[in-house]
Every structure is written in structure tokens, then in C-alpha cells.
């Protein structure tokens, strides 16, 4: 039975059901339960935006509040993952990666290779990302290209509640370290979500709209914006494939290449900053692999090369919008 759930609820349900299924799964983070040591109620917060609310009531000490020490507890999650547990650690905002990145990229990501294939590190690091929340430069970044760049990490970025549940369950069951992104502007968006447990495999992009004239590749918050652009363009007679990557590493380039082979035109949309972005990555691979199919230069629609501005007036134009996406498609089709 599918219910209409928000992404927030879908993430909570995935954690709840996986904890119920597998006693090795533990969840930790700052205020992930909330109220530890405080005089009021336990489970007071359930994470800063309430996403993990209620888990500690059901799963007790497997939901662990932590002191404010990201290196220590993210590293502990990683060490525990090498020692038989399957921790899901919450980094809260991905912007905080700078205080614990070593444990992620030099430890978790490299263990298996450095140790000659003999380590297993089934850890999931959940974090909120993205702009539009009026949270300013240090709480609004994407940083997806940084994690995608690192060999040994898997990078997951759902765009809706259904995908969030299926991808999170897959992430928890996966035996490699996974960075699981949650776009804070998508928490309230709803889709049908099945009650039971289900997984969505990694490296399977979702073709969310089929067109044939041009391909739009994106992920996260800009999937909906790309769909909006595609609707507008359809009225002008331009039909777009819209591809939601869902996982950035591993990435499903086959689906992208197949689409571009047909359309010959590609627009890569990325809420991240432009330099060395996911947009650049996809564009470069397509150009290398199927140059002959391209009818026009690949266009990129990204955030500007600036920190995320606080002022709503600036933040609203910072995030790639349907207008900019549509006009990039028009440009590529015009060529």
C-alpha cells in the first residue's frame, strides 16, 4: 500500500524499518534524538528539522545523540562500520564536512583499497544540502562534486520521497561508504511511498520525462525545475528527455548516453558551483564518448561561482531556475 508521504517522512520510515529489520543498524548524530541529559522529554528534537523524530522512542539506545564533535562521531561511525555495525551517521548540514572530511575521504573511502580489498565499511552519512532555505553561505551548499570526486565513496541524491526511501534502504544495505544527501527544500514535497521495504539500485538514473529533441540531466531540487522548464518548452514544440541521476557515484552514464544519442542535444543542470561540477563531469563524459551524436555544444546551467547569498532576492536567482534551464535548451536546439 502506498501512502502520500513527504520526503521527511520517507527518510524517517526507511531508518525505522531498517533498524527494525537489522539490529546492526544504529543511528547517530547531534540532537538526532535530542534532549539527552536535559530535564525535559527525550526525543525532544529528532534532528534539527525533526526528520528522525520518534526513532529513539522505538529503538532506544540505538539512536545516539552525540557531543558536538563531528570528526569524533563520524569517525566512530566509520570505525564501528569496520567492526560489525552498520551505522547511519547524520552530519546535519553537508557544509560541516570541513570539520570531519579526513575521516570520510582519507579513512572510510580508502580503507578497502589501501588494505588490499580486505576491509568493509558499511557506513551511511546523511546530510542536508542545498539552497533556498535562507540559510546563507555556510548552511546551503551542495558540495556534491567534492564527494563525487573521491574514489571509494558512493554519492546518492534523491529528488523525491519515493526515491529517498528506496535509496536510503539501499544505502544502508550497501557495503561501501555512502554519502546520502537530503535537499532541505524537498523535505515537504510529497509522493506516493509504499509501506513495505524496497530498494532502488545505485547507478540507475530515472528518466522522469521523455521527449526526444533535447536531454536535460540533473538531480535533486533542480529535477522539478527541469520538469517545469520541459513543460514550458513543450508548449513551444520542444520535447525534452529529463533525466534524474539519483546517484552521482556510481553514475548511470548509459542512460544519459542513450538519450543524447537520440536527441543530440544536452543541457546539464547542477545546483552546485560551476567549476569541476557534476554538470561539467557529465558534459565531458558525453563529449568524450559520443561526440559524433552531438548536434550542438553541451550547455551547463549551474549556480554562479559565488558562495550562497543570504538575501532572498539573491538566493532566488542563485539557484538554477526553470527560466534559465529553458533558455539553455532553446540555445542548444537553435544550434
Amino acid at each position: 500500500m502506498a501512502r502520500n508521504l513527504s520526503m521527511n517522512e520517507a527518510v524517517n520510515e526507511a531508518l525505522d524499518q531498517e533498524m527494525a529489520r537489522d539490529p546492526a543498524v544504529i543511528v547517530m548524530g547531534e540532537d538526532i534524538s535530542g534532549g539527552t541529559g536535559a530535564p525535559g522529554e527525550d526525543d525532544a528534537w529528532g534532528g534539527p528539522l525533526g526528520v528522525t523524530k520518534g526513532l529513539s522512542v522505538k529503538h532506544g539506545d540505538r539512536v545516539m545523540d552525540t557531543p558536538l564533535s563531528e570528526s569524533a562521531f563520524i569517525g566512530a561511525a566509520i570505525g564501528a562500520a569496520c567492526s560489525g555495525l552498520r551505522p547511519v551517521a547524520e552530519l546535519m548540514f553537508v557544509d560541516f564536512m570541513g570539520v570531519c572530511f579526513d575521516e570520510i575521504f582519507n579513512q572510510a573511502a580508502k580503507f578497502r583499497y589501501m588494505f588490499g580489498g580486505k576491509a568493509e565499511t558499511p557506513v551511511v552519512i546523511r546530510c542536508m544540502a542545498g539552497a533556498g532555505f535562507r540559510a546563507a553561505a555556510q548552511h546551503s551548499q551542495m558540495l556534491t562534486p567534492i564527494f563525487t570526486h573521491i574514489p571509494g565513496l558512493k554519492v546518492v541524491f534523491p529528488s523525491n520521497a519515493y526515491d529517498a526511501k528506496g535509496l536510503l534502504i539501499q544505502s544502508i544495505r550497501d557495503n561501501d561508504p555512502v554519502i546520502f544527501f537530503e535537499h532541505k527544500n524537498l523535505y515537504d514535497t510529497k509522493t506516493d511511498v509504499p509501506e513495505g521495504l524496497y530498494t532502488i539500485p545505485f547507478a540507475e538514473a530515472n528518466v522522469v520525462r521523455e521527449g526526444g529533441d533535447a536531454t536535460i540531466v540533473t538531480y535533486g531540487q533542480t529535477v522539478q525545475r527541469s520538469l517545469d522548464a520541459a513543460s514550458t518548452l513543450a508548449k513551444e514544440g520542444i520535447e525534452c528527455d529529463v533525466i534524474d541521476l539519483r546517484t552521482l557515484s556510481p553514475i548511470d552514464m548509459d542512460t544519459v548516453l542513450e538519450s543524447v544519442e537520440e536527441t543530440g542535444r544536452l543541457v546539464c543542470v547542477d545546483e552546485a558551483n560551476p567549476r569541476c561540477s557534476i554538470a561539467a563531469d557529465v558534459s565531458a563524459t558525453v563529449t568524450q564518448e559520443i561526440f559524433g551524436s552531438l548536434k550542438a555544444g553541451v550547455r551547463m546551467v549551474t549556480a554562479p561561482h559565488t558562495p550562497v547569498p543570504f538575501s532572498p532576492a539573491l538566493e532566488d536567482i542563485y539557484i538554477p531556475g526553470a527560466d534559465r534551464i529553458a533558455s539553455a535548451v532553446r540555445q542548444t536546439v537553435a544550434n
Binding site: G40, A135, A136, Q138, P309, P312, A313, L314
Partner: protein, 328 residues
């Protein structure tokens, strides 16, 4: 309260009261305006904690520097940042201290020695060490203050900075604003030491704990550690025990609190009430003078809000500027 509050002259007492009251009115007004939907983003209020910022900053000159936290409004006001510009910033207006690009968590005014509120916990401590290093090299007796919460006092950047400051013998003071909570998590649980004095000893520096709701106690303790730093005596840690009246951020339901906790705080642990009672009770200041300041503070905040509300948003042309000083 300490024994001789009135080693402080009347003008300074009035100044202190004005600063505390301005902070309080600023925060109370923000609380209302957030609820009304006028303020975008995360807002962390300093209400209840005013005595600490105020008493400490009275020992500083403009060339002394502070590195603040996410809960930075009080530090800004006490360090002399313009209240109108602050209100503009918090509303994302072009008139703001940072032209609307920073917001509540990133208000800075380097010309006033305010190196920025900070959205990253613990990040200010190394920056304050750097400011202290610059002061030490200048040799002008300047100091830097790093503010940090009880939660952030577990952050590696903060802990490393304690050691660095001691090793380099820097003129820097680490002020732990211990309000008992990091978000919803209790300090008693999350900070594993019997006292901050022990934590300071673990990094080879003196530590002092004071009642942060007692303006005079903070004033005296801060005076001493700052004087020592100015004279080349190196860093110290100063813990101020205090309370926040509102939630962690605006919107926090505060279910981690005990029943009646906030009412009790407002009634019995309001640093402004305590200050007022002390100075008027002792006859050092006439209540009428304080009432006049109350009115001034309120007027100032009203004016700041009116100014900010009327100010324009930044325009699209501002989006890509200010990233670099030189673009090649």
C-alpha cells in the same frame, strides 16, 4: 554578586545598561518579527545572556578583536556594530552590514574589530588566535576574544586553539558561554569534565568560572584575564554560566526543558533585572536614568526596524560581486 560593584563609575554603568538593554530589545523584537514572518532564515537569540557580552566588551577597544558564534547579535552590539545595519542584514537588505549577503549568522564589521558571527561551531577560535598573533606582532597590547558555546567547546578546532594559544603564548581569551544546552542536548552530559577549569588546565592555561548573569562578576574576571593577556601573560579560558530565554533558534519547541524552566529564568535569572536591582538598590544610579535608557533603546530598535523594512533588497547585479578582490 561581587563585593565592590561600584568601583565602576556611573557613566560606565549607564553605558553597560544601555548596551544590555539594546541587545534585549533587539532580540525581543526579532522574536516578534520572526513569528510574523518578516525575517528569513535561522535566527539564534542572545536574550538572557546580555551581561557577558556587555561586561567583556567594556574592556576592549576598537582595535581589539572578537570572533563570535551563530548566536552573535549580542556580541555585535556590544562591540559597536551599527544596529541599523544589523537589522538590515538580518532582513537581507542592501542596507545591511554585509549588504544582505551574510544574514544573521554572518554579521561582521572588521572596522569595529568584529570578525564575524559564524555558522560553523568552533571556527572562530583559530581566527581569534590569528588576530591575537597579529596583535602580538604589532606589540600594541591588543587582545582577541574567542566566544564559544558549551556545545562548541567539544569541537576540535576550539580544542586545538587552546593548545596553540598556550604554546604561542597569545593574547587571546576563550570565553565559554555556557548556557546549559547545545541545541537540545545538555551541557552536563556532553562536556566530559568536572569543570572548565580542568579543561583549561589540560591545555596549560588558567581557567575561571563566573556567574554570567552577574555583570559585575564577569566584568571583574574578564578584566583580569584581559589585563594579563595584554601584559604578555598569555591566554585564559573564562566560563560564563548563563541562560538563554528563547529556544535554540526561533521555532524551537523547547520540549527538552523542564516545566517552568523559562518562567523561572525570566523571573530569577534575568541578568538585566539583577543589574538594575544592584545599581539602583545601592543608589549608584537613579531608576529614572535607567527608564530613560529603556525608552532610548526601544526607540533605537524601532528606528532600526523601520529603516531596515524600508531599505531595498540587493539587485541581481550584486549576485556575482564580492567574491574576490581581484578577478585575475
Amino acid at each position: 554578586m561581587t563585593d565592590q560593584p561600584f568601583s565602576i563609575d556611573r557613566d560606565t554603568l549607564l553605558d553597560a545598561y544601555r548596551t544590555m538593554k539594546t541587545i534585549r530589545e533587539f532580540e525581543e523584537r526579532l522574536h516578534v518579527d520572526v513569528a510574523r514572518g518578516d525575517i528569513p532564515g535561522f535566527v539564534h537569540l542572545y536574550a538572557g545572556e546580555e551581561a557577558a557580552a556587555t561586561a567583556i566588551m567594556l574592556h576592549l577597544g576598537e582595535s581589539d578583536r572578537i570572533a563570535s558564534t551563530h548566536r552573535g547579535h549580542g556580541h555585535c552590539i556590544a562591540k559597536g556594530v551599527d544596529v541599523k545595519e544589523m537589522m538590515g542584514e538580518i532582513r537581507g537588505k542592501a542596507s545591511g552590514a554585509c549588504k544582505g549577503k551574510g544574514g544573521s549568522m554572518h554579521i561582521a564589521d572588521l572596522s569595529k574589530g568584529m570578525m564575524g558571527a559564524n555558522g560553523i561551531l568552533g571556527a572562530g577560535a583559530p581566527l581569534a588566535c590569528g588576530a591575537a598573533l597579529a596583535a602580538k606582532r604589532r606589540g600594541d597590547g591588543g587582545v582577541a576574544i574567542s566566544f564559544v558555546g558549551d556545545g562548541a567547546s567539544n569541537q576540535g578546532m576550539f580544542l586545538e586553539s587552546l593548545n596553540l594559544a598556550a604554546v604561542w603564548n597569545l593574547p587571546v581569551i576563550f570565553v565559554v558561554e555556557n548556557n546549559g544546552y547545545a541545541e537540545s542536548t545538555a551541557m552536563e552530559w556532553a562536556v566530559a569534565c568536572d569543570s572548565y577549569v580542568d579543561r583549561a588546565s589540560g591545555f596549560g592555561m588558567p581557567g575561571v568560572t563566573v556567574d554570567g548573569t552577574d555583570f559585575f562578576a564577569v566584568y571583574e574576571a574578564a578584566g583580569e584575564v584581559i589585563r594579563r593577556a595584554r601584559e604578555g601573560g598569555g591566554p585564559s579560558l573564562l566560563e560564563c554560566k548563563m541562560y538563554r530565554f528563547y529556544g535554540h533558534f526561533e521555532g524551537d519547541a523547547q520540549t527538552y526543558r523542564a516545566e517552568g524552566e523559562v518562567e523561572n529564568l525570566r523571573e530569577n535569572h534575568d541578568c538585566i533585572k539583577i543589574f538594575r536591582a544592584a545599581v539602583t538598590g545601592a543608589g549608584a544610579v537613579d531608576p529614572a536614568d535607567l527608564n530613560a535608557i529603556d525608552a532610548e533603546a526601544l526607540a533605537l530598535i524601532n528606528e532600526a526596524v523601520a529603516h531596515a523594512a524600508a531599505a531595498p533588497m540587493p539587485g541581481p547585479e550584486d549576485l556575482e560581486t564580492d567574491v574576490y578582490i581581484s578577478y585575475a
